[in-house]
């Protein structure tokens, strides 16, 4: 009773206590259109923007604005809790208590010396109430669940479906693979299935087919996991003639991959890890853990509603983009002078608490500038960047206006949020995307200001054009006739080991011009990668001659190289070719890689810091433990 009442009041509370938030919507909104709040929703949920007349949805949205915001702020909500419990050493009991009292706190003016920002907590309130009112956890969860289910999720799901068919894929029947018949041969025939479920066996995500229809299959999966566990053992995988089934448990989540590809178990597990990270990037590890601690059979789909598309996108990307396999980032080849001047532009446009400024074009890195102090203690892992790139790529919503969204970088810190500002510099083409990461939740204005500076700087240099013209290069530029394709990943040189791991690779050209052939070559690379990096029997070199091509993989202390030759190449000429290739890469190094990512210093402003914990004397410690000194 009480909870229900409270929740119905929440929208009001949000508006009252957090004037800055709706404001920031408006701020963003005035740039574009009044539809922007929806864009934000869409952005957070990974949906594309409604193109057509969405008045009905729009209206309903208005009605459910409270919950909408609530859903919108889902991530930041959990962040609020997070920031209060960032201290990894923090006593969980204490955390719970704190969370439980968030509601009350929000009603009281918060002394600003205390690290918890009152505004933040205010908007935390709805969710905090749902998730952490320990006294009546179950009821609240149940209630809130129904609450959310009946209102915005349904609306959004509806919108999503229409959008999916209407906007993103014009002309295709509205039947998405989420509606697939899971008993059909075609469903079985998928090359790779991925399932995510909770320890209670509740479906969270399935790559193909509706989770509800698959709930019994997922139930069996969980039964297998717990059965083996009950024998004081852990299930890893099942092999049949054509399939590999790989199980991975991550906290309260179980991830399962069912693959017909030739990939190794290790590689499939790495992909599941990415899926897990992507979920974490939306919710944080701590909040996922907490949710299931509170209620074992919680339906996590409530919190992930709409984000299936991000996971779908990730899995498609993992199957085509070697960045994931190599755990490295690819840079768009660019004249070093141009790249330098772009970096300088980023370097100049700073504001307190800004930690990463990144320019992206064509899903490749253009320039990156990092905060000095932050990067000294932890490095930006390629995997984190991949998740960001996927997020940007998975949603066309980012193409309009500016996005300000909380995001967790799981490898940097699985329990904390960054605030990502995402905006394209060249609408409507939308090639060049700017990504600014701040640790300050309130920094929207100042970060948006940075964007304007960057925009001006880039325009002044007339750089956009040059970037738009920049292309992936052809292997023919290397000048070795038998060489068809390659992937080259240099290892960090010791003195700047904080550097982002990168790789370079030309376009796939004939005979790898069809989707099938590209997939086949990628499979071969995966096979080489799995052999050469085998956990138990790693190798130094592989020379593989087959009917359609000859492959050579080579790992040294300085680099890792995968090459593909025509099948008739001799061993002598292959070795010759590699010598030439390495020389060519050396020559082109400046163009292909970001050799020394520039740094800036935006010493965090203590009063603004959102990573600060309980404040006071604790702050420093919290900052160090929770953020800066991650391994």
């Amino acid at each position: 009773m009480e909870t229900g009442q409270r929740e119905s009041e929440e929208p009001e509370e949000v508006k009252q206590c957090d004037p800055s938030l709706p404001d920031s919507h408006n701020q963003a909104g005035c740039e574009d259109s009044e539809a922007l709040p929806y864009h934000r929703t869409a952005a957070v949920l990974g949906e594309s923007i409604p193109d057509g007349d969405q008045t009905e949805e729009e209206e309903e949205e208005e009605e459910g604005a409270g919950t909408q915001t609530d859903e919108l702020e889902e991530t930041s909500v959990t962040e609020g809790q997070r920031s209060s419990s960032l201290d990894p050493e923090g006593d969980p009991e204490e955390k719970a208590e704190r969370d439980g009292t968030l509601n009350r706190e929000s009603e009281l003016p918060e002394p600003s010396g205390n690290g918890e920002e009152p505004e933040g907590d205010a908007c935390v309130a709805p969710k905090a109430g749902e998730l952490s009112d320990s006294g009546s956890t179950d009821n609240t969860l149940e209630d809130s669940g129904e609450f959310t289910e009946t209102c915005p999720v349904a609306v959004l799901a509806g919108a999503a479906e229409e959008l999916g068919s209407g906007v993103s894929e014009p002309g295709t029947p509205p039947l998405s693979h989420r509606d697939e018949d899971v008993t059909a041969e075609s469903w079985r025939g998928h090359r790779k299935h991925v399932f995510v479920l909770s320890e209670a066996g509740k479906p969270i995500y399935s790559r193909y087919g509706n989770e509800e229809a698959l709930s019994s299959t997922m139930g069996v999966m969980m039964a297998l996991v717990s059965f083996v566990q009950s024998g004081d053992n852990l299930i890893r995988s099942i092999y049949s003639e054509d399939h590999k089934v790989v199980f991975m448990q991550q906290g309260p989540l179980v991830l399962v991959s069912v693959s017909q590809s030739r990939q190794s178990e290790q590689q499939l597990r790495q992909e599941l890890q990415y899926v897990y990270y992507q979920i974490i990037s939306m919710l944080t590890q701590a909040s996922v853990t907490r949710i299931f601690e509170r209620k074992k059979n919680y339906d996590l789909r409530r919190l992930l509603a709409g984000s299936e598309k991000i996971l779908d996108g990730l899995l498609d990307l993992v199957d085509t983009d070697p960045s994931f396999l190599l755990s490295a980032v690819r840079c768009l080849p660019l004249a070093s002078s141009l790249r330098d001047s772009l970096s300088q532009t980023l370097q100049k446009a700073i504001t307190p608490n800004l930690v990463f400024s990144i320019l992206i074009a064509k899903s490749q890195l253009l320039a990156i500038v990092q905060e000095k102090a932050v990067i000294e203690d932890a490095r930006l892992e390629p995997a984190d960047l991949h998740l960001l790139l996927n997020l940007i790529g998975a949603s066309s919503a980012f193409q309009a206006g500016e996005i300000w969204t909380p995001i967790c970088l799981p490898l940097f810190n699985p329990d904390g949020y960054f605030y990502a500002y995402i905006s394209y510099l060249d609408p409507p083409q939308c090639t060049v995307c700017l990504l600014l990461l701040s640790t300050d939740k309130e920094a929207f204005y100042s970060v948006a200001e940075c964007k304007r500076k960057i925009e001006d700087g880039v325009r002044a240099q007339n750089a956009l054009r040059a970037v738009e013209e920049a292309r992936a290069y052809s292997v023919t530029q290397v000048g070795v006739p038998d060489l068809r394709h390659f992937m080259y990943k240099p290892f960090d040189v010791p003195e700047n080991h904080k550097q982002l791991t990168q790789f370079t690779s030309p376009e796939m050209e004939a005979p790898y011009s069809t989707k099938e052939e590209r997939e086949r070559l990628f499979d071969l690379y995966r096979y080489l990668h799995s052999c050469i990096h085998s956990a138990t029997r790693p190798l130094k070199l592989i020379y593989h001659v087959a009917e359609k091509e000859t492959l050579l993989a080579w790992v040294t202390s300085k680099f890792e190289l995968y090459t593909c030759f025509s099948p008739l190449v001799t061993k002598a000429s292959a070795i010759n070719a590699i010598t030439k290739l390495l020389r060519w890469i050396k020559k082109e190094e400046e163009r292909l890689f970001i050799r020394y990512p520039p740094k800036y210093s935006t010493t965090p402003n203590p009063s603004k810091s959102s990573w600060g914990g309980k404040g006071g004397s604790d702050r420093q410690e919290t900052t160090e433990n929770g953020f800066l000194s991650l391994p």
Partner: protein, 479 residues
């Protein structure tokens, strides 16, 4: 004896445990479909001491795993389950009859800081392809001596089947030696004796004469030095019979020819001056009035004619001949005496002929240098197998002369070969700088390990070319 090395004193030593057999069971899900009757499904369970509920649980897990994988491909269910502590291998050799082998992963026991032992499982050490083959071999060996499950069911129902499984596997499982299984178990090939044409013809005419004179003989096989020269059996039957002969029967009968001059065996032999022939199966001494004339029964051609045969193995010096006779014929003392007096002298003569020829050939090919390489060759068409890596196959262990890590890399390459039908060549350089070459062409597979650590790819290629030219021009006469 009580000396303790400083290493041990600090507790830094590690104890290694090789993979070992945890469970082995045979079940049929149709035999106890109702709840509460699950025990009826179980036809054989090793170790038998395991508690009933535990057995039922383990069988249940296998059923669940197999059922689960049918969700994704109804016709090709699970073949193995990997867990942290063990691997389970599934095989359905006859419809609804499942054989399961559970192998514990190798472990390393370390002492932690407090001196307490901590066990670490090495999860990636066991090769699926090797142990799946071992499981299949278990069935094949069972079938050789007992016939199919279905046939036994017809003959005497579940009870007879259980009895036979118990009787066979009780002993057989003790001979598995899982720690030394490798690539050769996948091939399960036959080593052929290299021979010149003349001698080969002599052997063939010997076989023909014997079959004619003894006229009861259905099939004959001839081996020298544990290597096959001639066989009338179907390939797959010969393959398993060969395995039995070379890993079980022959090693159990040590060579009296090699025994010391004054050993009692030698004296016994002296009584029979005509020849060195003797029965390895059946009566050990024909002169013994108590001698029994019972021979092991084997089942061949189970797919079609399903024949049940007496297996007579008769050996003189290094030459062994197997005569297989339909079980409808009763073998008597007279028959055995006739066989002994007919085959004994001729086989003795033939054995010394082969021996002489063999040493001439060896002399021609020159004294053997320690080669820079070791290799394994296998031909899928005739099952011919040759290994210079395995020093000696015995009943207990197959000794290899190379590091087990390299053997596993060979296994990895083999798994890759088995995925596609195309010809392939793979050259890899291991972390230890050994070069390993795998070649597959037209049903033949060759694996070479080169101990030239400073060689480059081109030099390695040259070495392998040379090896192919010298080793594989005339060795395999059946090619």
């Amino acid at each position: 004896m009580l000396m303790i090395s400083p290493r041990m004193a600090t507790g830094a030593q590690e104890k290694q445990y090789p993979p070992s057999l945890l469970n082995f069971f045979v079940y049929n899900p149709k035999f106890g479909p109702k709840e509460g009757e699950e025990e009826k499904k179980i036809l054989f369970y090793h170790p038998n001491e395991v508690e009933k509920n535990e057995k039922i649980r383990n069988v249940g897990l296998c059923e669940a795993i197999i059922q689960f994988t049918r969700t994704f491909c109804p016709t090709k269910p699970a073949k193995s389950l990997h867990t942290q502590k063990n691997r389970q291998f599934f095989c359905e050799p006859e419809e609804n009859f499942w054989m399961v082998m559970v192998v514990r992963n190798p472990m390393i026991e370390k002492n932690n800081k407090d001196g307490k032992p901590v066990v670490e499982y090495q999860e990636e050490e066991i090769l699926d392809s090797v142990y799946s083959s071992v499981l299949q071999q278990c069935y094949n060996m069972y079938k050789l001596f007992n016939g199919t499950f279905a046939r036994t069911m017809e003959a005497g129902g579940v009870d007879l089947l259980k009895q036979r499984l118990e009787k066979f596997f009780y002993r057989y499982l003790q001979t598995l030696h899982l720690q030394s299984c490798d690539l050769l178990d996948i091939f399960s090939g036959i080593s052929f004796f290299p021979l010149d044409k003349m001698t080969y013809l002599k052997i063939q005419s010997f076989v023909n004469r014997m079959e004619e004179s003894l006229n009861l003989v259905k099939y004959t096989a001839f081996l020298y030095n544990d290597q096959l020269i001639w066989s009338g059996l179907e390939q797959d039957d010969m393959r398993i019979l060969y395995k039995y002969l070379t890993t079980s029967l022959f090693p159990r009968h040590s060579e009296p020819e090699l025994a010391g001059r004054d050993s009692p065996m030698r004296l016994e032999m002296a009584g029979n001056l005509l020849h060195y022939g003797r029965f390895l199966t059946g009566p050990s001494n024909l002169k013994d009035p108590e001698a029994k004339f019972r021979f092991p029964k084997i089942f061949v051609n189970t797919e079609n004619t399903d024949e049940e045969l007496h297996l007579i193995v008769y050996k003189a010096m290094s030459a062994a001949v197997c005569f297989m006779i339909n079980t409808s014929v009763e073998l008597t003392r007279e028959f055995c005496e006739q066989l002994d007096s007919l085959v004994g002298p001729q086989l003795t003569l033939l054995a010394s002929d082969i021996c002489e020829q063999y040493s001439i050939n060896r002399r021609i090919s020159g004294p053997e240098k320690e080669p820079q390489f070791k290799f394994i060759y296998f031909n899928h068409m005739n099952l011919a197998e040759k290994s210079t890596i395995h020093m000696r196959k015995t009943a207990s262990v197959s000794l290899t002369s190379i590091h087990p890590e390299l053997m596993k890399i060979l296994g990895d390459i083999n798994s890759d070969f088995s995925r596609v039908d195309d010809d392939e060549e793979i050259i890899v350089k291991a972390m230890t700088d050994y070069w390993i070459v795998g070649k597959k062409s037209d049903q033949r597979e060759l694996y070479v390990i080169l101990n030239q650590k400073n060689a480059n790819l081109i030099e390695v290629n040259e070495e392998v070319k040379k090896l192919c030219a010298t080793q594989f021009n005339n060795i395999f006469f059946l090619d």
